[in-house]
């Protein structure tokens, strides 16, 4: 801001800085008392105990709630991070469950490996068949509407 733009304002501000404002002592103390009363803690008036002793002790639920919340969150993360049936069935990791995954599973089963896709607690040829059944399901594509 340049001086020539607001000469009057500048002059008035400079004059204000030099001018002494008299505040009577009583008014000053009254004002300070009111400020102290406003910001003072209410318990300080009724209690003489030290400040730390006046803090409330946390209740049991306050103590255990964060831990319980952490356990629940960890459980949810584990639950949703579990591989889905589709992810388990996509053996060649090409993003689609198709008959090639069924073929690979059948070969795994032949070698005594594989995974329990149909959740029957057994790893056998039925797991490969389950993948093939998943692969031919009509609901899994836009052609489902064509069929309706």
């Amino acid at each position: 801001m340049k001086e020539e733009n607001h000469p009057k304002l500048e002059k008035a501000l400079r004059a204000l800085a030099k001018e002494e404002i008299f505040v009577p002592r009583e008014r000053d103390e009254r004002m300070l008392g009111a400020i102290r009363a406003h910001f003072e803690e209410p318990t300080a008036v009724v209690s003489d105990r030290p400040r730390l002793a006046r803090r409330r002790t946390p209740s049991v639920w306050q103590h255990w709630l964060p831990l319980a919340a952490a356990i629940v969150i960890a459980g949810l993360i584990l639950y949703f991070a579990r591989p889905t049936e589709r992810q388990m069935a996509d053996l060649n990791r090409d993003g689609t469950v198709d008959v090639i995954d069924a073929l690979l599973m059948a070969k795994e089963v032949q070698r005594g490996k594989g995974s329990d896709i149909n959740h029957d607690q057994k790893i056998d040829a039925r797991d490969a068949e389950e993948i093939a059944t998943l692969a031919v399901r009509l609901e899994r594509g836009p052609w489902a509407e064509e069929a309706e």
Binding site: A102, A132, A147
Partner: protein
Amino acid sequence: MKYIRGVICWVLLVAFVETITAHGAFAVYEVYVDSGSKALAAYQVRIWDEEGVAKILSVEGGEPPAFQAPPFFDPKAIQKNVIKLAAFRVDASEQLPRGKVRVASLHVEIPESGARPRWRVVIEAAATADGRKIAVRASVFKKDEE
């Protein structure tokens, strides 16, 4: 007397034709997969009738021993004009078919008389015995029309 007999025969013939057309026509369509020189261990195709006139009734297996069993399909495709077929074999390459082979047959009903389905086939997957993807060609023909 001859005249009456002729009329009765004509009426019976008309009634027979009417009965046949009222129930629609039935046909068999054969699904072929051509894997060229490579051994076909697995295939997955999506087939649908663009005209929407055919209703799939049942699915039969194919010709080569490896694919004689009916392929996998969704039972919900029955009475519809779209189906996905898939089959796989874990046999050794030597026992798997090569070239153009009939892998399945579709038994369909065409309720509308004179209508003719127009089949479209999309290959969704095909692989050799070791699970490697291969490019194949697929086609659908009416039985005895290939």
